[in-house]
Amino acid sequence: MRALIVDDSRAMRRIVGRILGDAGFEVLEAGDGQEALNVLEGLDGPPELACVDWNMPVMDGLTFITEVRKRPEWRSITLMMVTTESESDRIVRALAAGAHEYLIKPFTGEAMLEKLDLLGLLRTSTGV
């Protein structure tokens, strides 16, 4: 399985990348929404998962999710917002735009694995 991490923080991409790598994902990275769209365009098929930060330069995460949802060929991508934005109305906006899950920073590796379990993206559903 492949996962695209979209975050303007290199440190955050490394942290998330390590968690996803340990969970068996091949990890792809992008520093903003526009770069992530370019990465998706260049792939032979969509990744199973995209973890998307909200606040980024050039194109923010909400816009990226909206753009992905417009494209039928990317419908199979599971989208998880991973952000410091923690107000209820933000979560509702992200879900309404097409995000499947929402993980608030800071988070533990276990919390991220539990979210992947909820999304059916862990190879085993227990033992996290």
Partner: protein, 282 residues
């Protein structure tokens, strides 16, 4: 520094006597890490000094704090997910066919900080077969501190990240400063009570479902057997018992049989045992 053997032995015997939880050798790190905050709060430089003082004074309130610090566990929402899927897809629909009074009673034993009983209520609300039913959840724990926390129903950002779907978070929680508070309508459905599993149960009624997950593992064999026997006595004859994934009744109390429920499994009282009349209504 690490805890001294004498201090560890004192704490181990105290916890064993008060809760029947066995702290094996090798759990020194656990004792140390859980007691450091208490030692600091009591003005002691380290855990050894705190325990030495404790063993001399033996103040009941202070001893209780130590037991509580070592008997509480981190937990998450819908922990392990499969039991809650089984509850929604298998157990609740089956019980809904057999309860004419449209009422279910569920017991969450060792509920820690409340995530499990609240997860049970949210699961019941998501079960179409239980629409309009009365679902009563009794949640018990040894720790008064945990019960107070659970009744408040307030959780940190880190805690709501643990296993709680985002849709459930925005549907059933509201912001409370930096924390999240579970809605009043959910809190009202759970009755939190103090209960020590290792002692005779107070009158708590009869239950259709019992959650007793990840608590038997801390008990020795005679205590496990005794707890499971007493759970049978407060269980409806067609009730369902959920244990932790690493726990089983086989070889402990064979009056139970393991039955598959979706990707999980539950324990039911064997027919032969029911006929012996070993279940009773309290």
């Amino acid at each position: 520094m690490t805890i001294s053997p004498q201090a560890f032995t004192f704490v181990r015997e105290l916890v064993r006597a008060e809760s029947a939880i066995v702290l094996d050798t090798g759990k020194e790190y656990l004792v140390e890490s859980r007691l450091v905050p208490l030692a600091r709060a009591a003005g002691h430089p380290d855990v050894d000094a705190y325990v030495a003082d404790l063993s001399k004074r033996r103040t009941p309130a202070a001893l209780k704090l130590v037991v509580e610090a070592l008997t509480t566990n981190e937990t998450s929402w819908f922990r392990d997910s499969d039991p809650f899927t089984a509850l929604r897809q298998t157990v609740f629909p089956a019980l809904a066919k057999t309860r004419a009074n449209r009422t279910l009673r569920i017991w969450a034993g060792a509920c820690s900080s409340g995530q499990e009983p609240y997860s049970i209520v949210m699961t019941a609300l998501d079960t179409p077969e239980l629409a309009g039913w009365k679902v009563e959840v009794v949640a018990t724990d040894l720790s008064e501190e945990m019960l107070t926390r659970s009744r408040k129903g307030e959780y940190s950002q880190l805690e709501v990240n643990r296993g709680l779907p985002a849709t459930t978070l925005v549907r059933h929680f509201e912001r409370a400063g930096l924390n999240w508070r579970i809605n009043q309508s959910i809190r009202d459905r759970v009755e939190f009570r103090s209960l020590n599993l290792t002692r005779p149960f107070p009158p708590i009624g009869r239950f259709d479902v019992v959650f007793l997950r990840n608590v038997l593992i801390y008990f020795d064999l005679p205590t496990k057997r005794d707890v499971l026997k007493r759970v049978r006595q407060v269980m409806a004859p067609d009730g369902h018992l959920f244990l932790g994934a690493a726990e089983m009744t086989m070889g402990v109390d064979d009056a139970w049989e393991r039955v598959p429920a979706g990707r999980s499994s539950v324990y039911r009282i064997r027919e032969a045992v029911k006929m012996e009349g070993s279940t009773c209504v309290l």
